[in-house]
């Protein structure tokens, strides 16, 4: 029995080694080819982008500091007005944060329902799981700007189009992440509740949600941080808030750079603030979860 594995030990060792070396060589070759392909793609991609850009990369690189320098020097010259200007744009900042907060809340609520409906073992209608999954895929795939621009045409400018647009994307994105978490939920509480004759809603509310709540909250916070950025960007295409004010102050050009600076400062500090806040909370949630 034992010598079955030891038959002919001497000769194959060399073969094994050469085989191994050949395999290693081949793997290195493939790795090298992949790397080469990647480098070629990067360089040619850069050249194409450079060629289709209005200004060239190397020319632009020299004046990259010009605009920030202009803005900052003008803002520095008028630094006495800066606090007042910052105060002036606080309402716009609030609007940006409100858009992000409301769309995160609504999106998370819709995403929650969708995720439960599309998780195996939890779904209310198991046959419809693929349908709900595809719906989430589409909601996730639509960039916010598409819905925002169409809604601005119908509803007029303002925060509501941006809010709806971000909420739809959030529902799709969070729905997928929630569903991945819910897939790992323990089904015993659900079975226990089922034995008492609980409805689907009660099973989810008392059996699943308490298990997944920390993870959901953590993903929700991450989304909120992403949505603040999205809401600022959508403002730039006419959806209100800080982005809208930024575009206006930019289009005025020199002379109003102090306003642009005030908005820069507000936007930057808000993003950093919520970034730090959410990462701190998420670390805490993750630590509590890990035990």
């Amino acid at each position: 029995m034992t010598d079955a594995s030891n038959t002919g030990p001497a000769a194959p060792l060399g073969t094994v080694q050469t085989n191994y070396m050949a395999q290693l060589q081949r793997r290195r070759l493939y790795g090298g080819l992949t790397l080469l392909l990647f480098v070629v793609l990067m360089i040619s991609g850069f050249n194409v982008a450079d060629g289709r850009n209005a200004g060239g990369f190397w020319d632009g690189l020299q004046n990259i500091g010009d605009y920030p320098a202009d803005v900052l020097s003008e803002a520095w010259a008028k630094r006495a007005d800066l606090p007042a200007l910052i105060w002036k744009y606080v309402p716009a900042l609030l609007e940006t944060i409100n858009i992000a907060a409301v769309s995160t809340l609504i999106g998370a609520a819709i995403g929650l329902v969708f995720s439960l409906l599309s998780t195996r073992g939890l779904a209310r209608w198991p046959r419809l799981i693929p349908l709900f999954r595809r719906m989430m895929d589409i909601m996730r795939a639509v960039p916010e700007i598409v819905i925002a621009l169409v809604l601005i045409f119908v509803l007029g400018g303002g925060p509501v189009p941006a809010m709806i647009a971000i909420a739809i994307h959030t529902a799709g994105a969070l729905g997928k992440m929630f569903s991945e978490v819910a897939e790992n939920a323990d089904l015993k509480p659900v079975e226990g509740l089922a034995s008492t004759g609980a409805t689907w809603f009660q099973k989810m509310w008392y059996g699943v949600l308490p298990q997944v709540a920390p993870n959901f909250l953590s993903y929700g916070l991450l989304r909120f941080e992403i949505n603040i950025r999205a809401s600022a960007i959508l403002g730039f295409v006419g959806a209100g808030g800080l982005g809208y004010e930024l575009r206006n102050s930019m289009s005025w050009g020199p002379g109003r750079f102090d306003e642009a600076t005030a908005i820069f400062i507000l936007l930057f500090s808000t993003i950093v603030f919520f970034d730090q806040l959410s990462s701190r909370y998420r670390n805490r949630l993750a630590d509590g979860d890990a035990i």
Binding site: G60, V102, P143, E144, L246, D275
Partner: protein, 440 residues
């Protein structure tokens, strides 16, 4: 025998329940109050008034249909037939749609017994079943009609302009021209414009039939004409999508290449000096905090509009994000593998190459590929701001407020593009690092 006093535990439990119940009530109440506040802050009531539902109707109906304009210039009596009224969609001279009859007078059959007749002397007659015939004559800038005082609300008539809206089409008459808009479902001229010999030729004839255009092979000729279609601009659209994907590709991978070495400087395990660590981390926080929006604005000043600007904006922002993620991954590297490599007498470079890199590569690749998909979406938005890619085409098409079928076309393509990128990055991830859970 000891007597256990359960009352403190009981009160404690009751207090816990009370707290929980209070939480159950307070938490939704706070959210509800916030929604009420936002309802007024966003002026949702005013929105209902400001909303333009006609726009919504136009948008929805135009996105899946097209209209053919039949126009008579009243001064000269010259007729023209054009899809969407665009010069690029004009029927060639001497041809017209089959629902138009040209004899001494031009008769347009709008369907369901609605007829419009272009008569000499700048006169127009419109037959509408159940209503009768509307006759109008343009004299200079004035319009004379046989309409009395009582006109239904689907006719809008003044002595300068008459507009008739029927379910079969619209007619407007002004002093200078008489125009008919006839609606049809579908995207007209999507494949070939009128000036292409392949217009109206069935697909089987193009593939298997005799040469339509004697100079060119059928298939190459058809593809060339479709690619250069002036109405739908397939070539420009393809380039725009390519630009958007290029922005995402260059930005994501460029950021990963720059962030990897910097991440070593920010990780406690590899950077002994607290100062360098802290400076690198603040740098990551800074470029991330400035956000793609402001980077786009700043970079657009230096590099001008175009895909390169968008790529650089993504690159700079994501350098911060990747730097943070990579350095966290580096801190979680298992020392045992590095020790194992060291025990074989490996030099520092080999220690990194065989002890560290294999551990972090899966995490890195998973993140980078995930960002590739999400940056495709960002690139669409950044393109709309900086002026490049499909985002710009979409914004322009929406701003002209008439080519809704083109808007629908672009939206479909954008969604498909993101889904394909999602699928592609997932496929690549599975290929490169196996089917492990991409846990962030």
């Amino acid at each position: 025998m000891t007597v256990v006093d359960l009352s403190p535990a009981k009160t404690e439990a009751e207090a816990l329940f009370r707290r929980k119940r209070l939480k159950m009530f307070v938490f939704p109440a706070v959210i509800l109050a916030y929604f009420v506040y936002v309802f007024f802050a966003f002026d949702v009531m005013g929105l209902a008034k400001r909303a333009n539902w006609d726009n919504a109707v136009t948008l929805v109906s135009d996105s899946w249909s097209h209209k053919v304009h039949v126009t008579r210039t009243n001064k000269t009596g010259e007729m023209s037939y054009a899809v969407e009224g665009e010069r690029k969609g004009t029927y060639p001279d001497g041809t017209y749609p089959d629902w138009v009859t040209v004899n001494d007078i031009v008769t347009v059959d709008l369907g369901r017994d609605h007829y419009v007749r272009f008569l000499p002397d700048r006169r127009t007659e419109i037959d509408i079943p159940g209503f009768g015939t509307i006759a109008a004559q343009a004299n200079g800038r004035q319009i004379a009609t046989n309409l009395g005082q009582e006109i239904p609300n689907w006719i809008n008539a003044s002595n300068r302009r008459v507009a008739v809206t029927t379910p079969e089409g619209r007619i407007t008459i002004t002093g200078s021209k008489t125009e008919i808009f006839n609606y049809f479902p579908g995207w007209e001229l999507f494949w070939f414009t009128f000036n292409s010999p392949y217009y109206g030729v069935p697909l089987t004839d193009i593939l298997f039939g005799a040469r339509v255009d004697p100079d060119r092979h059928n298939i190459t000729g058809a593809i060339t004409d479709w690619w250069n279609n002036a109405m739908w601009r397939h070539k420009d659209v393809a380039w725009a999508i390519g630009e958007t994907i290029l922005m995402a590709f260059l930005g994501t991978f460029g950021a990963a290449i720059i962030a990897l070495p910097l991440a070593f400087l920010a990780a406690k395990k590899f950077a002994p000096f607290a100062l360098i660590r802290s400076v690198t981390r603040r740098f990551f926080d800074f470029v991330r905090g400035v956000d793609a929006l402001i980077w786009t604005v700043v970079l657009a000043r230096a590099f001008g509009p175009g895909p390169l600007t968008g790529a650089l904006a993504i690159l700079i922002t994501d350098t911060g994000t990747f730097g943070k993620i990579f350095s966290e991954a580096l801190e979680n590297v298992d020392d045992k593998q590095i020790e194992g490599i060291s025990s074989t007498g490996a030099n520092p470079v080999q220690r990194y190459r065989f002890g560290v890199i294999p551990q972090i590569i899966p995490v890195l690749l998973a993140q980078v590929l995930y960002f590739l998909e999400s940056n495709t979406r960002s690139a669409t938005i950044i393109g709309a701001i900086t002026g490049g890619g499909i985002g710009l085409m979409l914004t322009q098409a929406i701003q002209t407020q008439k080519d809704w079928e083109e808007v629908a076309y672009y939206i479909t393509l954008i969604i498909l593009m993101v889904m394909v990128m999602d699928w592609f990055s997932g496929w690549l991830r599975a290929k490169l690092i196996g089917r492990t859970d991409a846990h962030t």
